[in-house]
Structures are given as structure tokens and as C-alpha cells.
């Protein structure tokens, strides 16, 4: 350390110090600029929910109004599509969380044949472009003569959610002390009781995080849904349909509401985490 201190004070240092100063602040400025860039479209979405737009399109600013917020539910089909999306997201995240958690338990707890195969099978849906995933599932439904609609959307969403659930739950499981389970078994708890009373409560945060991730991915999915939707209209599909004929500002109202609610929850959890850490 002392050597480094001396080196820092040697005559050739000023140039380097200047370089360091520029570098540090350049990086800070750059990072702040990127963050600002990330939030520009967000600001646009929120701003245009207050746009007093004349005509069908909502792409140029024409003045401030609360009209769209007051008449948020007046656009036929919009709120219904939101409810459909919420139902699909809940169902698909729920099923995927159960199926994915079971797979994660198998992968972390047991060594078995087909382990590599299972890993590849889980990786492929993540690596497959959404158009390919959506169109291949549609190809199956066409061949089996299954009419696309609500159920086929849920089926496809469960499919792409499983892999993400496994990744999330596995991360939680691998940092988990197996001795706790062994202790329970030593105290004559059978496997099921051990799972219910020891394993499940400990992995619950991971399982819950996986559910939230699956919910978010399903709720915002457009491409795979578009292939398998039939007559069912989800929130993204409503926006897609509206984009051709003119997006009503009420869509931005709901988009803003979704953003504000979810962002507040995220920020709240960050601040709760921090205050908990400072307590200890």
C-alpha cells in the first residue's frame, strides 16, 4: 500500500491524475446520459396520456388535458383486453411456477441420467426467437386442428415461462443448506413433511420471484401471443390492432398506470432492502 502511495505522488503522476479525473467524470456523465435516454420513451408515454389530441392519432402534442384519464374506461374493448391479459398472465405464471419448481428441485437435489438433455431442453426455448416459438406452436395446433384462443395462448405462455422459472428457483436452491433437511429427517420427519416444513418455506422467495417474472413476461408478450390468439384480444394485441387505425390516449393512460404501480413496488422493495441492511 505504501509503495502505491509513493507511486501516486511521483512527478509523472499529474498527467495520470488528470486522465483519471476526466475518465471518472466522463463515465458518470455518460452513464447519466444513458439513464436519461432509457427514460425518454417512458416520459413520452406518460406525457401523451395527457395529450388533447384531435383526430385518431396520438403522435403530436396538441395541449394538456385530463380527458383521457377521466374517460379511461370509455374505449370499447380496451379494459376487457387488460383483464384478459391479467388472467392469462396469472394462469400461465402459476402453472409454469409449479412445473418449473419441480424441475429445479430435481436438478439441484438428484443426480440422474438425462441431466444434460434436461438442461438443453430448458435452454432451447430461451434461445429460440419468439417468431419461431410462436409459429412452431401454431404449426402444432394447425395439424391437430385445435382452434386458437385463450387456452392456446396460456399453453404457449406456460411453455416459455417454465425455463425462466427453473433458472430463478435454481439460483435460490443452490445457496441452500442441505443440513437443515437432514436435521428434519433425523427428527423422524418423512420426506413430504420435510419438504413442506423446511424446503418449501426456504425456497418460497425464489418461487415467488419466479412467479412475478413469469407474470411480467406473459403480460407483456406480443409476438408468441399474436400467433396463437385466434379471436382473443390481449392488451398488447389491442395496442397492435389500434396502431393501424390510431391509438387512443387511453392506452397510454393504462400504460402509465401499469408503469407507476409496478415501478413503485420495485422502488419500495429497494428502499426496504436498504433500510433493513442498515439496521443490522
Amino acid at each position: 500500500m505504501a509503495v502505491a502511495e509513493v507511486l501516486r505522488q511521483n512527478p509523472s503522476a499529474p498527467r495520470r491524475r488528470l486522465g483519471k479525473f476526466v475518465k471518472r467524470h466522463l463515465l458518470t456523465v455518460y452513464a447519466m446520459a444513458v439513464l436519461a435516454y432509457l427514460f425518454i420513451p417512458v416520459a413520452v408515454v406518460i406525457l401523451f396520456s395527457f395529450n388533447n389530441n384531435q383526430g385518431r392519432f396520438n403522435f403530436t402534442w396538441q395541449g394538456f388535458t385530463l380527458r383521457s384519464w377521466r374517460n379511461a374506461f370509455d374505449v370499447p374493448g380496451l379494459f376487457e383486453s387488460l383483464l384478459v391479459s391479467l388472467r392469462i398472465a396469472f394462469l400461465s405464471a402459476l402453472v409454469a411456477t409449479v412445473l418449473g419448481t419441480l424441475i429445479a428441485l430435481a436438478l439441484v437435489r438428484y443426480s440422474f441420467r438425462f441431466r444434460g438433455t434436461t438442461n438443453i431442453l430448458l435452454f432451447l426455448p430461451i434461445a429460440t426467437p419468439e417468431v419461431v416459438l410462436g409459429s412452431s406452436v401454431l404449426a402444432l395446433f394447425i395439424t391437430l386442428n385445435v382452434a386458437t384462443g385463450f387456452a392456446t395462448i396460456v399453453i404457449a405462455h406456460i411453455l416459455f415461462n417454465i425455463s425462466y422459472v427453473v433458472v430463478t428457483v435454481k439460483a435460490r436452491l443452490s445457496g441452500f443448506d442441505r443440513h437443515l433437511e437432514e436435521a428434519a429427517m433425523d427428527l423422524y420427519a418423512d420426506e413430504w413433511t420435510t419438504f413442506r416444513k423446511v424446503t418449501l418455506p426456504m425456497i418460497m422467495p425464489g418461487v415467488f420471484a419466479a412467479f412475478l417474472l413469469g407474470f411480467a413476461l406473459s403480460f407483456d408478450d406480443f409476438i408468441i401471443t399474436n400467433f396463437n390468439s385466434g379471436q382473443t384480444v390481449t392488451f398488447p394485441l389491442f395496442i397492435w390492432g389500434a396502431a393501424r387505425v390510431g391509438v387512443p390516449p387511453q392506452v397510454n393512460v393504462f400504460g402509465t398506470a401499469i408503469f407507476v404501480i409496478t415501478a413503485s413496488i420495485m422502488l419500495l422493495s429497494v428502499f426496504l432492502q436498504r433500510s433493513r441492511r442498515t439496521q443490522f
Binding site: 486522465g19 404449426a139 407483456d220
Partner: protein, 345 residues
């Protein structure tokens, strides 16, 4: 020793009950499989009933195995079955459809028609090339934007690290399509950005950004930026900072220390981020549709219109399959380098 061998032989030998379970299980599984391929059932029942049968059959079959790993197989069956029925089988279905001939009106028939692929390439080669070009350019820009941001959060974030990470993720809480449409406002012809570009001479006097490749690439870059930033952040976060200090102590300039220490150690994150950005970018059609014109259409646009509008399933499947193969060719070297265990970790 003989006793041990005898005991092992005993546990290996299957009892009548196990044979019974095995046979019942296999029969139910086979019944389920045959019901999928050709049954009188229609609609969703045609899928649901066979799946339940196959699952039950497999669970019973596994019950016949007397070993500790059978629990693992039970845990794997429901999810694994889902992945096989709705991922593996659809992929083979896609391959089969890509070789069919006929029209939507007259019906399609399997005929080893490789011409579908020839047709796909000759007619839509341009869109294929554009997908890779736009996807590639967007990925490179995403590295240029995402790497310094990830570096800043990892090394200068301090106690605001979590807050900064949440801020990176936050824009993605706005629905995807609304985010994309917002770029239509930002890049509008009479908007601020176009004005600045015109003043700088980067865009002609009456030129525009919207409805050009620039708008599409801008949209793609923005939409998938978190997929680039987060993996890079994770790999930077893992770096032991004393390594960088050691380089500095050995008279490496900050630039050399970065090039020789930080960059190589963060490369796994850059590679992962590149894959996670390039794959959705190359397959995207939302940005080209909303921010471009048919002159900017990518392969995703063609696949979706062939499947959902033109109803030309064979050529659409051929295109889809080709995209999948292209993506696999990009991924396989990565998979071989990291092994299967790292893939889903």
C-alpha cells in the same frame, strides 16, 4: 462378498408388482401417444386427455423402478412433458410442414418439397440479410451503450447500486408496444431529434428518420438494452478488484489495465449479452412494422404475414426453421465452450 452380490441381485430383480406397474404404465403411455396422433376427439380435449394419460402412464412406469432417483423422474415428468409436447414436437411439426406442398384452399400434403426452402431464400433473402444486419448493428450499439453503464453501476454505484439496477429495468415496465410507439413520437418528422440531425447535416433538409432503417435499429437497440446491460453487470460485479489494483501497481495505465484485466474478465457477460440481444433482435418484427415501412421489413415480418395473413404454411415454416438453424449456428460454439450446466444457471 458372495452375500453382497446376492443382495444386489435381489434388489435388481423385479417383483411381480413392479412388472405389473411397468406394464400398466407403458400401456397407458402408449394409449396417450396414439390418442394425440389419431383420435376422434376434437379441440382442446384432443390435447388435454392424451397429455394427462401420458403423464400418468410415465409416473406409473417410473414407480416400477426401485431407486432413489425415481423421485427425480417424478419431479421432471410434468414440466418435461410440457416441454416435449409443446416445444420438441412443434419443432418437428415445423420441419414437416416446411416440406409440404399445396395451398390453403386445396390443403397441404407432405411431399419432401425442398423447393419451399429455395423459394424462401430467393424471394426473402433480402429480409434475411436485413434481419442479421439490423440485429447485428443494434447489438453493437447496445454494447457501446450498455457496457459503460454496467461498468459505472458495478464499480462506481456504491450504495446506489440496487437503485441504479432497478432504474435500468424500470423502462421495461412500460408495455413493449407502447415503448416502441413512443419512438414514433421521438423520431417524428417535425420533432426535436430530426431538427437537431438536420442542423448537424446528418439528415437532409427534408429528410426523415422515421420509416428508415435508422428508426428500426434505434427501436430494437432500445427495446433489448436490458438484456445486454444486466449480463455485463453480473460479470463485472464478480471481478476481484485487487486484480485491477495489481495492474495499476505494476504501472499499467488505466487503459491498459482495462484492456488486459477488466475486459477479458467481463467477456463472458458480453458474450451472454450479445446472444440475449441478437436472438430477439434478429427475430423481431414489431419495430420494423411500427417504425419502418415494407422496405425495412425483416424476416419476422415475412414469417408472421405468411403464417397469419397469406396462410402459406410451408414457406412460412421453411423461413422459420431457417431462422432457428441460423440462431443455433451462432449459439452452438458458446454452448460447447460453457457446457450444459452453465446454460440455465
Amino acid at each position: 462378498m458372495a452375500d453382497v452380490g446376492h443382495a444386489v441381485a435381489q434388489t435388481r430383480r423385479m417383483t411381480a408388482r413392479q412388472w405389473g406397474l411397468l406394464i400398466v404404465g407403458v400401456v397407458i403411455t402408449v394409449l396417450g401417444v396414439t390418442m394425440i396422433t389419431g383420435s376422434a376427439l376434437s379441440g382442446l380435449a384432443r390435447l388435454v386427455i392424451p397429455i394427462v394419460l401420458i403423464g400418468t402412464g410415465m409416473a406409473i412406469t417410473v414407480a416400477a423402478i426401485r431407486s432413489r432417483t425415481r423421485v427425480a423422474y417424478w419431479l421432471l415428468i410434468p414440466g418435461g412433458l410440457w416441454l416435449i409436447i409443446f416445444y420438441v414436437i412443434p419443432m418437428t411439426q415445423l420441419a414437416r410442414t416446411s416440406l409440404e406442398e399445396g395451398t390453403f384452399q386445396t390443403g397441404f400434403e407432405f411431399a419432401w418439397r425442398w423447393d419451399n426452402f429455395a423459394e424462401a431464400f430467393t424471394t426473402f433473402g433480402g429480409q434475411f440479410f436485413r434481419s442479421l444486419l439490423y440485429g447485428g448493428v443494434a447489438t453493437i450499439i447496445a454494447i457501446a451503450i450498455g457496457y459503460p453503464l454496467a461498468y459505472f453501476i458495478a464499480f462506481r454505484g456504491g450504495r446506489y447500486k440496487n437503485l441504479l439496477l432497478v432504474m435500468v429495468l424500470m423502462p421495461f415496465l412500460v408495455p413493449f408496444l407502447l415503448r416502441t410507439l413512443a419512438w414514433k413520437v421521438i423520431l417524428a418528422d417535425d420533432g426535436f431529434v430530426v431538427g437537431v440531425f438536420q442542423t448537424l447535416g446528418l439528415v437532409e433538409e427534408n429528410g426523415r428518420l422515421l420509416a428508415t432503417g435508422i428508426a428500426v435499429v434505434a427501436g430494437i437497440t432500445y427495446n433489448f438494452l436490458a438484456f445486454m446491460t444486466l449480463p455485463i453487470y453480473v460479470s463485472l460485479e464478480k471481478i476481484d478488484h485487487s486484480l485491477v489494483e495489481a495492474a495499476n501497481d505494476l504501472y499499467a495505465s488505466p487503459m491498459v489495465a482495462f484492456r488486459k484485466v477488466t475486459w477479458p474478465l467481463s467477456r463472458p457477460g458480453v458474450v451472454a449479452g450479445t446472444l440475449l440481444t441478437l436472438i430477439p433482435a434478429a427475430g423481431d418484427y414489431v419495430n420494423a412494422q411500427l417504425l419502418g415501412t415494407p422496405q425495412q421489413f425483416m424476416i419476422g415480418n415475412v414469417i408472421q404475414s405468411r403464417f397469419l395473413v397469406v396462410l402459406d404454411y410451408p414457406v412460412a415454416s421453411a423461413l422459420s426453421l431457417t431462422l432457428m438453424v441460423a440462431v443455433l449456428l451462432i449459439i452452438i460454439p458458446y454452448v460447447r465452450a460453457t457446457g450444459t450446466e452453465e446454460l440455465v444457471a
